[in-house]
Amino acid sequence: MKPKGKRSKTKMYDPILPGVQDWPVVHLAKNRKTFVEEVVKRSVERIKKLRDSKAALFEELELTVFKEKSRLKETPWEVDPDDEKEFWGDVRSRLASLPKEYSAELAMLDYDEEDLLREVVERYAEEIAGDFRPSYYKLARAIVTFGLTRFLNAARLQGIDRFYRNELSLRDKVKITGEVELVRSLAKKGTVLMVPTHFSNLDSIVIGWVIHTLGLPPLIYGAGLNLFNMKIFAYFMNSLGAYKVDRRKKNLLYIETLKAYSSLAMEKGIHSLFFPGGTRSRSGKIEKKLKLGLLSTAFEAQRRSLLNARQGGESNKIFIVPVVLNYNFVLEAEELIKNYLKTKGQERYYIESSDNSTSLRIIKFIFKFMTKGGDISVSLGRPMDLFGNFVDKNGDAYDLHNRLIDIEDYFKSNGVINEDLQRESEYTKMLGKRIVEEFHKNNRVSASHLVAFTVFYMLRRRHKKLDLFNLLRLPNDDLVVNYVELKRTFTMLREQVLEAKRLGRLDVSDSLQDEDIDEMIRFGIKNCGMYHTERPILFNKGGNVTTQNINTLYYYSNRLIGYGFEKYI
């Protein structure tokens, strides 16, 4: 299947920091010990502030032990250290031996709540901290790039020597658009925090490759601990700058330690990445609600860094770079949308399944993607400061009246920088909204999305009386759209989409910019979820358009939700 249009290779950029020793992440790795110590210190401080009495702290520790013990019982993982059970047993018995009130007995013990707290936090911090080694990184990257390129060529080219040809590479497959130069320039000025949309397990690999292609030093990012279950993956993850995030641990101590880690890294100028949506978008819609926990750490980092600067230290301005990944084909689409419908339809709580935690599945998945995935475009949004102000190449932001904005002002009360967590949590919400806005603006609508959207909403209109779930249950025979009608609606919607682009509300891929509408629709149908066994959209024998799986059709149509285009159908 050859995608249409000019095939231009994505440009390869020179690294902005040629010496590996200059990479912020290398500094971090070298100073791992002091870094972890600092994380522990800060987490302990923060937790003590949040649980500011002996009793409250005691209760929190008890709760943590309880949660950890039940985690061990219910979801044990390969990656869990061998002494896990022992450790928590020990914490529990020592906790139990603590007197509830101050007494002579307490003086006899050589530990108290705070010591236990510190021990637990230390354990967490050690676990979270990545194990980045530059030599590993280079090797791992070489293996990844080499391996992926082989896979790719094997699938695309025929012939005995197919494994040895280098004709197609990621550079053909991934198209990067947007503010490349600006991001490169800012990575030298301050800390870049990339926040991509999350549709597929492939995202981290694609982004990793994009970062390398752009010549940026590796970013650190939180990777699910489940990915470390297999040693070979653990190796790659460690080498690519990952720190570990364990979604099973939902206790305050763990969450605060994780936040302290992320915050300290940014404060130290280490470029970071997180998926603010938290998990992959189940519905195929661009994230509307973001997980604000990690995002809030950027404010902590920024505030502390400004304070450091006051004391003669270095100041790092943090730059948010929204990234939108555009796929015509998401391998997990079927599974994701099913999940979404299940949660939506029956109001049933969605249990985090370990669906993708087996290594074999992941390898299969990557293989399938590299051999089958359609072209991907990655849009880098305009970088902004934490307050949603766009910044220029010097990292400066200007207000409506062209005055330089001093971000210190956002952190000040009565002229002094102060810590006000409620204020910062409000700022985090504001930033979350801005990121969502930018996601929508940088969404590159392609012919395949628009065709899916048109067909799905034509079907919805025809079956107005059915609710979504009943519509999805209709037999495929009832799901045929007349081509002439489709073309008319598509043409009209395309005008709306192009108008929205003129207004800066979204972006449009080349596939929608041509003259020939028929060709555009054909191309869109061909590319929309091209490798699913049941096609989301296809031509039937009569030349009209139908679907083999309305769930995935719904999934792909959701890509265009959030702009109000439904009302035109």
Binding site: D399, H401, D406, D409, K412, S413, N414, Q422, R423, E426
Partner: protein
């Protein structure tokens, strides 16, 4: 409160109308106040005669006609100007503001962009995309983020007479609420806090519609049964409107909601009440507007809210009735008859 605030920075107030003056006088009990008056006559009267607009001026108040001076000297500013001038005022003030400013406004109206001003044109659609509350205007026109509003039963005259009262300071930021409380609180002025900024703004805006209607009832010579009916049905209408416009119900049953409704719907001191009263007495709207020296926000609000209700498909019989009286020359009696026939069946269906 006898503890004077120690920080040297004055608190800013923008707008020397009667509510602005009342707020400035309240603030002056705790802090020095820098009051912006647009016209220099007012500024001189305030600074020299210490009397303006039937208000005597607290000794801690100094007036200026420079917005720049207000922004330079004050970290916390209370803008209290009519909604129709608010955006313009913000445009002039914004070049001097910084993100560490706190703005707490006391304006109870909505902003519509200039091109929607033409009442006659029915094709203009009013939605929450183009109709804004004042806090939204502050955010849109300036780099200030820490925004709040004041609302509650605060008839300017009664405040000036130092009668006991209370208000709500609403903001997403606790810091703003706390600053508002610190600055305004006194032994006869209580200050509550709320996080529902939009809800509190909307109560202040929507209650003016009821105030006009209530004045009209009084003008017709009706008594308290009719008012009880109006207020309770009006509250239901406000809640429905408030919800679609982005507020929560809680705001409407609190001090800024029902508290303010009771005050403005029963007092001839309320400008909006007076408008309704005089309408019922047979005066024409232009004549009433002409003779009032300050803006009755409700007149514009009726027009905007009627259109918003239409767009969002909310039943708003009281607002629509008033709209016909104000803009379609129906008489109050006709409208009242129509309202009494309106098929309300369920008393309270919003809880």
């Amino acid at each position: 409160m006898d503890s004077k605030n120690t920080s040297e920075r004055p608190v800013g107030v923008i707008g020397a109308g009667s509510f602005g003056l009342a707020i400035a006088n309240l603030l002056a009990e705790n802090n020095p106040v820098l009051l912006y008056a647009r016209n220099s006559e007012a500024m001189h009267a305030i600074n020299e005669k210490r009397h303006w607009h039937k208000h005597s001026i607290h000794q801690e108040i100094a007036a200026t006609n420079s917005l720049e001076a207000v922004a330079e000297q004050c970290r916390i500013i209370f803008p209290v100007v009519p909604s129709s001038n608010f955006r313009e005022m913000m445009k002039s003030l914004a070049p001097f503001l910084h993100p560490d400013h706190i703005l707490i406004h006391g304006t109870k109206g909505l902003d519509i962009p200039g091109d929607l001003m033409d009442v006659e044109d029915d094709s203009l659609v009013y939605t929450r995309k183009n109709v804004h509350t004042m806090s939204e205007i502050i955010r849109k026109e300036s780099c200030v983020v820490r925004v709040g509003c004041l609302a509650g039963p605060n008839l300017a005259r009664e405040l000036a007479d130092k009668q006991p009262a209370a208000t709500v300071v609403a903001s997403h930021f606790n810091e703003v609420i706390e600053e508002g409380q610190r600055l305004l609180k006194s032994d006869r002025f209580q200050v509550y806090g709320s996080q529902d900024l939009i809800g509190i703004e909307l109560t202040g805006v929507l209650k003016n519609v009821l105030a006009i209607a209530s004045g009209a009832l009084s003008g017709l010579g009706f008594g308290e049964n009719a008012r009880g009916l109006l207020i309770s049905r009006g509250l239901v209408e406000m809640i429905y409107l408030g919800k679609v416009l982005g507020g929560n119900m809680e705001a409407f049953i609190g001090l800024a909601g029902i508290g303010d409704i009771v005050a403005t719907c029963t007092s001839p001191l309320s400008r909006n009440f007076t408008v309704g009263y005089r309408l019922a007495k047979g005066e024409a709207l232009p004549q009433i507007i002409e003779s009032m020296d300050e803006v009755a926000e409700g007149i514009n609000t009726v027009r905007i809210v009627k259109k918003l209700a239409g767009h969002y498909g909310v039943r708003a019989p009281i607002t629509e009735g008033l709209y016909r009286v104000l803009y379609e020359e129906k008489t109050i009696e006709e409208t009242l008859t129509l309202l009494m026939k309106f098929p309300f069946n369920i008393d309270v269906d919003f809880l």
